[in-house]
């Protein structure tokens, strides 16, 4: 297998710039790991890991200099593939007929450090936004213009449950290049490719042939050694469980805590709900119509002129979790939840959706 | 008056279906054929509810009088429909106007005659009460739906 040595990691950045990519990668900022614009290897975190729990996210140092010892950053690739606000079109109303122009083509972007759960999330977004007769044009352009350098996870975070959703901790496709970080016996990265342009790219890197001491990144024994302090959630029959639990008193209890802030939908890597907004010049001659993130927790989400359908907090929380873990899988050939655990860490009141499912199961079968 | 035809009509009427021929005969004994010209009132609000009707042909409007607005039709009754249930409920007075929208033929039933027979023959009274309870329930349910104003301009919040 191909190896990139620790001290040569910067070559990745040189190559990406040479290929004309703007680079998005992980940095530490405000006590979190977050994907942001970066330009060089030194921007990446070193020897940092994340501590997560319901309603809690923190960083702490690790022994060693690993670049990728953390799990799900506070944001996700969705921020860049499906940005919070993009123009759909511009229109000049002072022409007859009004003239519509398309917005600019997105810049070529490389995403570095994408975890396997987020790769699965990207694939899930593809099934929503690309499949079918009406692909979202902005998403399609960004998707084609994005080069993905994924990194396997060697451990599971406390709020990770990707093993249960079948979306981690090892990547299976969906990347251009896949790295796995080994700290011993030497600190190196194994390099695999997942596409033709990935192969062409790697041929530009100073990679060596790997030593026989290094195990194959996809060796199942590696994955099973991932720390099992992570939360677990059996997802067998969860769709039926949620459908049967429509009238459960648990939803009222959750409604006492949930503030409908929508944080969960902001950090979720698969959420795709959006709305459209008009902005215009003061004289109304120029109009821009933009696609903007929306959340099913907002009061107006289900609103018709006669009012909203989901008015209570209980109905909105129930709707979110039922879609994410249940009906999504009936709509699209992909998982709605990829087990990244972001919603657990970033819920300000610490609601844990894996706990909700366990609770529903207990209530349905109290003897088990 | 040809009571036989009234018997046959009642036997086929959805409201009276299932009553024994003897009971239908008793009810028919209080009946008379009547007709109303278009625009004529069957009864007025406040009148003593001395008779009720089953429409044979035509169309009858049930009107509410609203001060400053005039008459508001809240229901129309057509062939086979029963007009009036206040004859069964004290103080036996009409709460609405009933007006023929078209030339209407109906069977009129003497309320006092029928109430007396119901007091004597409580089995007959029960059969009639069951059927009229259903009519009243149906009218209430329809009114509830009309009250929901489902077609209304609910855009005003």
């Amino acid at each position: 297998m191909k190896i990139l040595r620790y001290n040569q990691f910067g070559a990745l950045f040189h190559a990406l710039k040479k290929w004309g990519y703007r680079i998005i990668g992980p940095v530490t900022n405000n006590g979190t790991i977050v994907y942001d614009c970066i330009t060089r290897d030194a921007d990446l975190p070193r020897g940092v890991t994340d501590d997560t729990a319901p309603g809690h996210y923190g960083l702490s140092p690790t022994a060693g200099r690993a670049r990728f010892a953390w799990h799900a950053p506070s944001n996700s690739p969705r921020q860049y593939l499906f940005p919070p606000r993009v123009p759909r079109f511009h229109m000049r109303q002072d022409e007859n007929p009004p003239r519509i122009t398309a917005p600019a083509i997105p810049v070529r972007t490389a995403l570095i450090g994408i975890r396997p759960c987020d790769l699965a999330a990207i694939r899930s977004l593809d099934t929503v936004l690309l499949d079918g007769p009406h692909p979202d044009p902005d998403y399609r352009m960004r998707r084609e213009a994005t080069f993905i350098v994924a990194v396997n996870c060697n451990t599971l975070g406390a709020t990770c449950f990707c093993k249960d959703t079948g979306t981690g901790p090892r990547a299976h496709g969906g990347y251009d290049v896949l790295l796995t970080e080994y700290e011993s016996p030497n600190h190196v990265f194994s390099v695999e490719t997942g596409s033709e342009r990935g192969e062409n790219f790697v041929s530009d890197l100073p990679v060596d042939e790997g030593s026989p001491d290094l195990r194959d990144a996809n060796d199942p024994s590696v994955a099973s050694e991932c720390q099992s302090n992570a939360t677990t959630l059996s997802l067998n029959g969860v769709g039926e469980l949620l459908a049967e639990s429509f009238d459960s008193p648990l939803w009222d209890e959750i409604a006492d805590q949930c503030t409908t802030c929508g944080n969960c939908t902001m950090v979720c890597p698969t959420c795709f709900c959006h709305r459209y907004e008009e902005t215009s010049s003061l004289d109304g001659t120029e109009v821009t119509r933009s696609r903007v993130w929306d959340t099913c927790f907002s009061q107006d989400y289900s609103a018709l002129h006669s009012g909203a359908i989901r008015i209570s907090t209980k109905s909105r929380y129930r709707n979110w979790i039922t879609h994410k873990l249940g009906t999504w899988a009936q709509q699209f050939d992909s998982p709605g939840c990829v087990g990244c655990g972001r919603c657990i860490a970033w819920c300000p009141v610490g609601i844990d959706l894996t706990g909700v499912i366990r609770d529903l199961r207990r209530r349905r079968s109290p003897m088990l | 008056m040809d009571t036989k035809s009234v018997d046959a009509l009642l036997a086929q009427n959805p409201t009276f279906a299932g009553m024994s021929p003897a009971m239908i005969g008793t009810v028919a004994g209080c009946a008379a054929n009547v007709r109303f010209d278009q625009g004529q009132f069957l009864f007025h609000e406040g009148d003593s509810a001395s008779r009720f009707f089953v429409v044979r042909t035509g169309l009858v409007a049930i009107d509410l009088f609203v001060p400053h607005k005039g008459a508001l039709t809240i229901k129309t009754l057509k062939e086979h429909d029963v007009v009036g249930w206040s004859w069964l409920i004290p103080p036996y007075r009409w709460h609405f106007d009933a007006r023929a929208i078209e030339n209407t033929r109906a069977i009129a039933f003497d309320a006092l005659c029928l109430r007396t027979k119901c007091e004597e023959d409580t089995a007959l009274g029960y059969e009639l009460m069951k059927r009229f309870a259903q009519i009243i329930a149906g009218r209430i349910e329809a009114n509830r739906v009309q009250l929901m104003d489902v077609y209304g301009n609910a855009g005003k919040r």
């Binding site: 979202d136 209980k314 | 209304g152």
Partner: protein, 283 residues
Amino acid sequence: MQASAEYSGVENASLPVMYRVTARRRESFDTITLTVAQAKGEPTPAFEPGQFNMVYAPGVGEIPISISGSPSQRESFDHTIRSVGRVTAALTAMHTGQWVGLRGPYGTPWPVEEAHGENIVFIAGGIGLAPLRPAIRHVLKNRDEFGNVTLAYGARTPHDLLYTREIERWRSRFDFDVFVTVDAADAHWRGHVGVVTELLRMAGVNASSMAFVCGPSVMMQFTARELGHLGLGSDRVYVSLERNMQCGCGQCGHCQLERYFVCKDGPVFPYKTIGHLLSAREL
């Protein structure tokens, strides 16, 4: 960044096409029908009865509106719009010469093909007659292909009735039974007053009918219940649902009803499929 003046291919398909208002007709105090056509008179995309366009009022917003004209009319689209909010207020204020953007047609149509040889009853409540009108016109144009054809139409008051002249023409046909009722009326009204379900028995609806129902959600529910009492299986009752729609094509998420996207799995559904979902509160 490179700028591009034009989208191409799939990107173009998702931009609204500008249509000019060529006619405007007042149906009632808050409802108008706009006829819109493309700038150079190009034919409209073909549509099936029951489908909708996403109609864009520039600078204001975009909403789903059923196409209310004949499928065979290809030089323009008719949209019947009731003013209930910001966008509909802007659209109903438009005059000939002004522009709207259209995307579509979207959605599942009324199953008119399946109704060949059957007795059809159209049941409309309020503005629900608008999405049914293309199906009614199509059926009347191909009258021989169907059994008995009936319309039961309920509105709030006589002033709220749509398409009054066309309804009179329908009434004058011997092969189309038309029943109209209102919730309340003054003495000038010589027709029925009461809920629309009261017309159904009079209309001879029975187990052999197929029903196409459109109106407020509550009205469709109690109509479906009454149709059940009259012997119609819920697989022979079709309804058209309304939901918040931002994209019209299953991507914005807003129109979801359990697993269904009302914009692409509907808006026309067999009642058997979604009846139980409509009665689940706050689903």
